[in-house]
């Protein structure tokens, strides 16, 4: 393994305890927001309690953001790209709150915990008060 690769992997694994905590925080947020998005829907219309592709993408992004947190511009570009990806996923018909989860992951990855908390509250209230989407 090259020196550069080792350094790159090392930066991912550094602070792994914190990463475990973030994993479970993100998981909790994904479950709560997914439940909110699925609530009031008929059982037949409901999506899964947790969209695995969404969660894996979000957590991967969180890890990327943690790695690039000294280089904000690079991270912003990544965040924007993935946000667009999230929009596209949502266009595909999934009811999971992909965009909110992606943004949440980016903020947690940057260490902007207060902003992540505010985003979660905004998403929570918005989903709580929103009417169920019409089945296409």
């Amino acid at each position: 393994m090259g020196e550069h690769t080792e350094r790159f992997m090392g930066s991912f694994l550094q602070g792994w305890k914190e990463l475990v905590i973030l994993f479970f925080l993100l998981l909790l947020a994904a479950v709560v927001l997914s439940w909110l998005a699925n609530r009031r829907l008929r059982p037949v219309d409901r999506g899964p309690a947790l969209s695995v592709p969404m969660f894996i993408s979000a957590f991967g992004l969180l890890m990327l953001a943690r790695h690039f947190h000294h280089d904000r511009w690079t991270a912003v570009i990544i965040a924007l790209g993935l946000a667009v990806a999230g929009v596209i996923i949502s266009k595909s018909g999934t009811r999971a709150p992909v965009l909110a989860m992606i943004m949440l992951a980016v903020l947690l990855g940057f260490g902007l915990n207060l902003s992540a908390l505010m985003l979660f509250i905004v998403a929570f209230i918005a989903l709580l008060l929103s009417r169920p989407a019409q089945k296409k």
């Binding site: 207060l114 905004v122 209230i125 918005a126």
Partner: protein, 662 residues
């Protein structure tokens, strides 16, 4: 609608939160890993409480260009620097966002020769705290202040200006002859001092000899460094003080000499990691805890002076609260340092290396009585180097005669007494007039007593040693020596008598005819009464380096170079001394001072020469009272860096005693 409510409610909550909670709570540690920077950003947008802005009164530095305004990174350029009461061209270097200013030798900025400007944040206040604590506990430190930097008319923002530590800093705050070891190696510093520094560093690093580090200063540095999260490599420098052969730490960034080995920094980094240093830091932290009230007050004053600098478009109350939080955390780290986490832990073999068992030389065994070797009245042939172990003193009784074969020496690691009289002197002579013997060398511990009377000595040279060379035929390191009614002639080494560290008192002695000098006094005190120094071939009479000396009724005759040479901040007080027929009767360079009262200068090429030896050094200074100058080619020569002060009548006692001469 849901989105509007979802956005609106949290925003209202944020306005309420950041406008209502007290600042001291806002600046305290937040839960869930929320950082101070993020809170600060939210406070900036959501804090809507009314507040009074303070008047911003920050020192301003202006950098203007000579020609086109060059701001290229890494380039070293000369630019015009302006600050209150100071305007000079300075050398400006860039490294990222930092500016490095180097001021001209002849025009330091508030005594500073080099300053590093770093972009300041609220955390920069720790640098100010660190220096305040260092100042309070007597640790030497570079200055630091908050300044607003303007470059080519553009406001660059708030910067922390830190004085850099280099040899010129050490010249200012250190004792005479102190060096940053690397600069002594790479510049034209004193090679002997640099070698002594390397030797001390070796003893500290390899043998764990902690007496070679100024323990108190290091403890203060350690506690302050732990509180400010400094590392020795970053904010540490240690210079070597030749007077006590030890390293002294200072707080501040060091100017790095390229291609040099900084033995002081290595010694300091090693010492900071030792259990010995950690124990002293714990004791120092305990002392600081006892002084906590005063420390808190002093740091609060620093906050009060700095708060307005950080205001910008932030509320003063919030800034004060932030500074209060920084102060609280700094004091906590100061009172409860964790040296192992801060500096690591070095494995040190604290068991001193056992001194090798030296079999007593047969010559010494013959005359050993208790713990003293008594050499009686008789002729004794010394034909090799005899070393007297530590703990054994040597006495040469009246009438003792040592005939020294070429290359032979007597090395004493304890006290030395020679008890000659006018009728029965102690003689130390060469066996072969054509071959020089080495020397009588004494290694003391700082105050080891040596008393010599009635000695007649000639024909010796010097002895090279791993513990430090002995550069005279009668040489002392770290001894308290008195020599009375003795005559030393015909030295074939650098000098006849040399003393390094300690004190030497000579009365009614006669010294003459050497190949180079007669007497060297290095980082020691000297007192000379009615002594005669006659050249008879020797180039220099007395050489003083970092020494304090007093001469009463002494003569200096016929030296082709200098009768009395004062270097490296030496101080000499001469009363009724006579200088005749010398090249330069009295030379004082590099910060040396001389006080002259009732002295006569006759037939010298130059009477008194005051100058500096190289750029960056101060010149010499002289205060003269009722002296006579007759038939000298030139009575005095004073360069532009030196001072000449002429008094009237006899020299007042207050003048010399003010310089520690009485």
């Amino acid at each position: 609608m849901a989105l509007l409510v979802g956005l609106g409610l949290p925003v209202l909550g944020l306005f309420g939160l950041f406008s209502l909670i007290p600042y001291d709570r806002m600046t305290a540690r937040w839960p869930m890993g929320i950082t101070a920077e993020e809170v600060h950003a939210y406070q900036h947008y959501f804090d809507q409480r009314p507040d009074t802005m303070a008047t911003v009164d920050v020192q301003r530095f202006d950098l203007d260009s000579i020609g086109a305004c060059g701001e290229s990174e890494g380039a070293v350029t000369t630019r015009k620097f302006n600050a209150k009461g100071y305007a000079e061209n300075v050398v400006v270097g860039r490294a990222g966002d930092a500016f490095m200013l180097t001021f001209p030798d002849g025009a330091p900025f508030r005594k500073q020769h080099a300053v590093l400007l770093l972009p300041a944040s609220i955390r920069s206040v720790c640098a100010l705290y660190a220096r305040e604590v260092a100042h309070m506990y007597g640790l030497s430190h570079g200055n630091a202040e908050l300044v607003r930097l303007w470059s080519c008319g553009d406001d660059q923002g708030l910067f922390l200006a830190e004085e850099m530590i280099d040899q010129r800093f050490v010249d200012r705050v250190g004792r005479a002859g102190s060096v940053l070891a690397d600069s002594a190696v790479t510049t034209d510093g004193d090679a002997a001092i640099a070698e002594a520094a390397r030797r001390s560093a070796r003893s500290l690093l390899q043998d764990g000899d902690f007496s070679l580090m100024n323990g108190n200063a290091a403890a203060v540095w350690g506690v302050v460094g732990a509180a400010a999260r400094y590392s020795p490599a970053d904010q540490g420098a240690a210079w070597f003080d030749p007077a006590d052969q030890a390293f002294s730490p200072a707080l501040g960034r060091k100017v790095r000499e390229t291609g040099s080995t900084d033995v002081g920094a290595r010694a300091m980094a090693f010492y900071m990691a030792t259990p010995e240093a950690h124990r002293k830091m714990a004791a120092m932290a305990e002392t600081m805890r006892q002084d906590s009230a005063e420390l808190e007050q002093r740091l609060a004053e620093v906050d009060a002076l700095s708060a307005s600098a950080f205001v910008g478009d932030t509320r003063i109350g919030y800034v004060r609260a932030q500074l209060g939080q920084e102060r609280k955390e700094f004091l906590h780290r100061l009172f409860h340092p964790d040296p192992v986490a801060s500096f690591g832990l070095a494995m040190v073999d604290t068991a001193k290396k056992a001194a090798p068992v030296v079999e007593l030389d047969p010559f010494l065994r013959r005359y050993l009585v208790g713990d003293t070797v008594r050499i009686p009245r008789a002729k004794h042939l010394i034909d090799h180097v005899i070393t007297v172990p530590a703990g054994i003193g040597v006495v040469l009784e009246k009438g003792a005669r040592l005939n020294m074969a070429p290359g032979s020496a007597l090395v004493v690691n304890g006290s030395l007494h020679m008890r000659g009289t006018g009728l029965n002197p102690v003689f130390i002579r060469p066996t072969d007039e054509g071959g020089a013997w080495a020397g009588i060398c004494v290694n003391g511990t700082g105050s080891t007593r040596c008393a010599i009377t009635g000695l007649k000595m000639s024909g010796g040279s010097m002895l090279k040693s791993e513990q430090g060379d002995h550069t005279a035929m009668l040489s002392f390191h770290g001894c308290d020596v008195s020599i009375v009614s003795s005559a030393l002639t015909g030295a074939r080494g650098p000098s006849a008598i040399a003393i390094e560290r300690g004190a030497l008192a000579m009365r009614e002695c006669y010294m003459s005819s050497g190949t180079d000098g007669l007497l060297d006094v290095t980082f020691a005190q000297g007192s000379f009464i009615k002594c005669s120094f006659a050249s008879d071939g020797a180039a220099v009479g007395v050489r003083a380096k970092g020494a304090r000396t007093r001469f009463d009724g002494c003569d200096f005759t016929g030296f082709r170079s200098e009768g009395l040479s004062l270097r490296t901040k030496s101080i000499a007080d001469l009363r009724r001394a006579s200088f005749s027929g010398n090249g330069t009767a009295l030379l004082a360079v590099d910060g040396s001072k001389v006080f002259l009262d009732g002295c006569s200068f006759t037939g010298n090429s130059t009477g008194i020469d005051l100058r500096r030896s190289r750029p960056g050094q101060p010149g010499g200074s002289a205060m003269v009272y009722q002296n006579t100058f007759t038939t000298n080619t030139s009575d005095k020569r004073v360069d532009e860096w030196s001072t000449w002060t002429e008094g009237t009548g006899p020299m007042p006692d207050a003048v010399s005693s003010a310089n520690g001469m009485d």
